[in-house]
Structure formats: C-alpha cells, structure tokens
C-alpha cells in the first residue's frame, strides 16, 4: 500500500497549460503518475504534449476522466477558487502547490470543504515511490520501501529522502505538508493514515520552528504508535524569535513554536531527534534493528 496516493489514483492538473503547471506535468508524467487530464479555462479541447486532454472546468474533467485527485498550480489570488472548484466537482484529494495564498483564504477553504483532503498550500506535494508523484518533488531521489516521511519543507525533504535512499531505506509515502501557518493536512492527520498502512514500517518527521504541529505529532505517536520506529528532525534551531525564516509558518512568537519545546516533546514521546539530517538514516536503522 502507501497512503493518499497509489498507482491507480486518477489525477488532474489545474493550471496545466501555465509555465509551472506544464513543466511539472511533464515530470509527473515521466515518473509514471496516472495523470488523466488537466484544466485551463478557455483551453478546453486542446491536448498537452503528453497527449493529456485539457478541459475548461474541473467538473468537465471529472465527468470525462473519473479523476479523484488534483494538483493545483495557479497564482495565489486564485488558489482558493481552484480548491472550491475541485471540491464542488467531487475531487476528494487536492494538492495545492501555490505559495503566498492569503491565510484567510486557506482558513475558509479548510472549513468549507469537509471530506476533501487538502495537502498544502505552499507545499512540494507528495510521492508514493514506484507508484505516483504529485507536485514538484524530484522523482529520482525516491525509492520504494517502508519509511513514511512527513515534512514542512521542500528541498530539505529531498535532502532527507536522498539520504534515506542512499542508506538503502526506501519510502512508502513522502508528504511535504507545506510551510504556511494554516495547512490542509497536519502531521497528525498523516500519522493517522500511516497507522493503518501495512507498508509503512517506520516514520521520519521533519519539522521546523513555529506552530505546534511537532508537539501534537509527538503526543500522537506516544499514544497511538508507541511501537513504531520514529525519528525526528527540527530545522531552524538557531532562528531568532519574531521573524519568519522563509516559510510564513516558521516563526517563533513569544514562547510558542520554539525548537526547545519541540525537541522536549519528541524526547518525552521516546522519539530521537537528529542533530543533523545526516544522522537520520543511522538513527532509523538502529530503531528498526531494535524492533526486529
């Protein structure tokens, strides 16, 4: 198995003829992702270089292809509209790559689309190696296997996945949940899915400063996944309070969101916290060996 995404997930791309959309459509297609079409209003009837049908609306795309998943590449002012359109057309899984979506837009969409799983916004997407890749992640770093990876960042995730792959530790599903303060799917929601995934034998949590997603993930692991090998990493330990570093969500406000609090939470849950990404494979191998 794997979570959220597999070989048969039928996926469309919203904004498929835009610069970003067409570039990443090609990469996803070449990875072997089951893309079934795309949407650009006014370009219905065209075909992409890969031969994918372009539709004017998500409703038409879903009717013609049976798509259940969407990957959204549209500018920030239109991201909420794209998500509503997907929801209204019956899409159940949406990945929103767009960075810079107003936080109230995300807040409202998350509240008004019950039953649709949203990954992001401001995220690199996700991959179930060997099956499908949705978003902007580089396919070549992945290898199919038993490690679930959840992360708030992009390149750092690829870095960590690359380290895992080089160490022979393949992945079940890797999810970049996004760097914004409000995101559609949190670490805990990913962990809840991993809990029921037989392919996933261990988990890497790649957190960063800001918010309390890491603390909640630690508590969830302690309560629901005490037996599972889990390793964590926290980026931004040396960040000053009051300034967000790159990600809108990576900000320490007062006593909230500090690396100390996150590290303490992981350690209290029995989860080792790597000092540097390069330590992750060894920590993981160690935990897997103890279990076996």
């Amino acid at each position: 198995m794997s979570i959220f995404l597999d070989k048969n997930s039928k996926i469309i791309v919203q904004g498929i003829t835009g610069a970003e959309g067409s570039y990443h459509t090609d990469r996803m297609y070449k990875y072997g992702t089951n893309l079934v079409g795309g949407v650009t209003p006014g370009k219905g009837g065209q075909r992409t270089p890969q031969g994918l049908a372009v539709f004017d609306t998500v409703r038409e795309a879903v009717a013609a292809t049976g798509a259940t998943h969407t990957c959204i590449f549209v500018p920030p002012p239109f991201a909420a509209d794209a998500l509503y359109e997907a929801y209204d057309a019956g899409i159940t899984f949406a990945v929103c790559i767009t960075e810079g979506v107003p936080v109230h837009d995300t807040l409202k969409v998350v509240g008004a689309t019950p039953g649709m799983r949203i990954i992001g916004p401001n995220c690199p997407g996700l991959a179930s190696p060997g099956k499908a890749l949705v978003g902007i992640m580089p396919g070549h770093v992945f290898k199919e296997g038993g490690i679930g990876v959840i992360s708030r960042s992009g390149t750092l995730t690829y870095e960590i996945v690359d380290l895992l792959t080089r160490a022979g530790l393949g992945q079940s599903t890797c999810i970049g949940v996004g760097g914004d303060p409000i995101i559609g799917t949190t670490f805990v929601e990913c962990l809840r899915e991993f809990k029921n995934d037989p392919q996933t034998q261990a988990i890497v949590i790649c957190g960063e400063i800001g918010g309390s997603d890491e603390e909640e993930a630690a508590a969830f692991v302690a309560e629901h996944l005490p037996e599972l090998p889990v390793v964590a990493f926290i980026g931004g330990r040396n960040a000053p309070p009051g300034k967000s570093l790159g990600h809108a969500g990576a900000i320490i406000s007062g006593s909230f969101g500090t690396p100390q609090s996150k590290i303490a939470a992981f350690e209290a849950a029995g989860i080792p916290v790597a000092q540097r990404p390069s330590e992750i494979p060894a920590l993981l191998a160690q935990r897997l060996a103890v279990r076996a």
Binding site: R27, P76, P77, G100, V101, P102, V103, H104, D105, L107, K108, V110, G111, A112, I136, M137, P138, H140, V141, S151, R152, S153, G154, T155, L156, T157, Y158, E159, D162, G179, P181, I182, C206, E208, I209, G211, S212, D213, E216, G235, G236, R237, N238, A239, P240, P241, G242, K243, L245, G246, H247, A248, G249, A250, G254, S255, Q275, R276, P277, S278
Partner: protein, 389 residues
C-alpha cells in the same frame, strides 16, 4: 505588516468601533496647533511598532498648546530604547494626540488565527492594560476563548458567552457583542492575522472605547487592499526585507546575523538546516538566505552581492540540493556569477547535488572554488575558512 496605533484606530473607526477622538501629528508644531484652544487634558503618544511605550516615557499627558509642544519634543527627541528584537531601537516619527479618557475599567480582547485549531479565536480577559502573557500567568481564569466556525462566522452569542466567561464588568455587557461583531468584521474583511484592543476601556460615563489598537495584516493578502500601500510608507523599514526585495528574493527569504559564515540554500527548510549545520560545526552565520528555485547566474550573483555587501561574511557557503536542476548548470551559473560581479571576492564553499553533480564539481574546482559533497562537510569547511579569514 504590523500597523501603527493611529492606522489601526483608523480601521477601527471605519468598522464602527468607538475610539477616543484624536489627531495624528507629524511634529511638535502640529501637536501645538491641534491643542490651540482645546479644552481639558490630552494624551500624546509616540507612534512606533515597538512595545513598552509607557515605560520608555513615550506616552505623556498635556494640557494646552504649549505643554503639548514641549512633551511632543521630549517624546520625539530620542528613539525607543533598543531591545533584543530591535537592537537599533525605533525612531519616533509621528504622534497621536488623543482625548484623555476617564477610565473606570480596563479589559482585553483580541482575534487571531489559531494554527492548531485552524480557526479564528477570540480571546477576552477582564484584565486589560497589561501584557496578555502576563495576565495568562497571573490570572489564567480571567481569560476566555472562543474558536469561531468559519462557516458560521461571528454571531452575537459568542460575545455574550465570552463576557460571562471572562466575568467582564457588567458595564461592558450591553455593547460587547456588537464591538466583537465589528472587530470580527474587520478581521475577516481585511485578511487580518491579529487584531487586539488592549485596553478596551469602560469610561466613567459608561462608554466602551478602544483605548489602544494593534493590527497585523497578512502580507500575502495586501494585494487586495491597495489603499494600505500608503500606510506601509509610514512604517519603520525592515532593512532585511528591503535588501531582499532589491536582490529579487522574497522578503521573508533573507535575514542578517552577526556571524562570519555567509549562507545560501535553495528552499527555506534547507536554508534553516544550513544555518543549523554551521552552528553544529562551531561557527556563526552571517545570514539566512533562501535563493528559491532556478539558481541561475543572475540570481546567484544578486545573492552573492547581497551577502558580501551587507553582512560580515568572510566566507560564502552555497548549499544547493539539485532536486530538479542539473548540477553542471548550477555550477556554470555560479562561475558566471562570480566572473560578472564587481564586488569583493570571498572564498566560496559549494555543496552541490543532482544530475551531473560530478561534472558540476569539476567545473567549480577548475574555477578555484571549493566543492564539497555533503552539507555537514560544507559547513565544517566554511567554518574553518571563516576562522582563517
């Protein structure tokens, strides 16, 4: 984008929230002119973003034009004293002259976005006029919260429940639900991240008035409100943001620090991890810098010049994880950038991965730069070079 008090109060007025009558003055002369012939006592307040104005002597009473001028001069004479987040302090560029309220009670109310609940949260306390974190420590039972379902929005019962739960003075009760309605409307309409009234005053004659105003707008939503652009000009500049914008990277993507190791990475998470790697290797960074996607020659050059010219970097550690971009292309971009720049040269340590990464490293070696294979190795090397420099 944090607003000044007078800007926040302007939004309050537009939304129907009572504020003291006031005048925004750019200098002591304007204060005096406004108070010419004005009766009673007035409050002159420094318009700054930093907290702690009262303790810093930046809020003073005045009666009449002459006293108004002199306290205004005193307030503007010195900047706000520095603190950890603002080591340079903050100059006082304007003043708010405000009717002095005869305050009977002070309460607190705010609306912000709760990340964990993914909902707006309204926070109310019967203790106002002091830092809410202090109240949370000393009188936790006085703080009431309501998490708003965005599909419903604000409804008056929320204000009633909060007033009862926070045990607000009964004098607040009648107006409170309507004040919160206006505050929620403002919060929602302008894409606000935080709006705070501290204190929300109950005057001796029974009015409920916003005595202070704190508003944080969402930078990502500012495109919807072109009218706020003029307000931005009045705000103290964040030099890092300005420099980042000039270099063509996002305003959140660059931040300076006192160390000697310049850093740059592609991706915010990797850039943070790069800072941490330098610290792990015993060094101190000169900056946080996310170059973003497409690390082409022009972009690399801009970033290099940004770091060399505005920080104390003695070495520049470039950490590129070539997810999609090719290693040889990035290497050529870096070499071209260094050939083109007119800025002074400092040693480069470059960690580069991705397709054709060996070819990339060869190109770098030929250009007399230091290619490394891992982030940790690069951090160690950069720290070593910074010590030598």
């Amino acid at each position: 984008m944090n607003l000044m008090e007078y800007q926040g109060k302007e939004l309050f007025k537009r939304s129907g929230i009572a504020v003291p009558s006031s005048h925004h003055a750019l200098d002591p002369q304007a204060v005096a002119a406004f108070l010419e012939g004005a009766l009673g006592q007035w409050v002159v307040k420094a318009q700054v973003l930093m907290g702690g104005r009262g303790k810093a002597g930046k809020i003073k009473m005045a009666t009449g034009a002459s006293q108004g001028r002199s306290v205004a001069q005193e307030i503007m004479a010195t900047p706000m004293p520095p603190n950890r987040q603002n080591p340079a302090g903050e100059p006082v560029k304007s003043l708010l002259v405000e009717e002095r309220l005869d305050i009977a009670k002070e309460a607190y109310c705010a609306i912000t976005i709760d990340r964990a609940a993914r909902k707006p949260v309204i926070v109310v306390s019967r203790f106002g006029g002091m830092d809410i974190e202090e109240v949370a420590e000393q009188h936790p039972e006085s703080i009431a919260k309501f998490y708003v379902d965005t599909t419903i929005g604000y409804s008056a019962f929320m204000g009633r429940e909060l007033a009862f739960a926070a045990q607000l003075d009964p004098g607040y009760r009648k107006e409170f639900p309507a004040i919160l309605a206006a505050l929620y409307d403002l919060f929602f309409r302008y894409g606000v991240k935080l709006v705070e009234i501290n204190p929300l005053a109950l005057t001796a004659d029974g009015r409920v008035v916003a005595s202070d105003a704190k508003v944080e707008l969402d930078d990502d939503a500012l495109f919807r409100f072109p009218e706020f652009a003029q307000w931005r000009a009045a705000l103290p500049l964040d030099e890092d943001e300005l420099l980042a914008a000039q270099a063509g990277v996002g305003i959140r993507n660059f931040r300076r620090f006192p160390g000697k190791v310049g850093t740059m990475a592609n991706g915010a998470g990797l850039a943070m991890a790069t800072m941490d790697a330098v610290a792990n290797a015993g060094g101190e960074v000169a900056d946080f810098l996310d170059v973003g996607g497409g690390a082409n020659a022009q972009r690399v050059r801009n970033c290099y010049e940004l770091v060399v010219n505005t920080t104390g970097a003695k070495v520049f550690f470039i950490n590129i994880f070539g997810g999609i971009t090719r290693g040889d292309e990035v290497a050529r971009g870096i070499v071209t950038a260094m050939a083109q720049t007119a800025s002074r040269k400092i040693p480069l340590v470059i960690r580069l991965t991705g397709t054709n990464e060996e070819e990339g490293r060869r190109i770098l070696r030929e250009a007399a730069m230091t290619p490394v294979e891992t982030m940790d190795e690069g951090a160690r090397e950069a720290v070593r070079l910074s010590h030598g420099a």
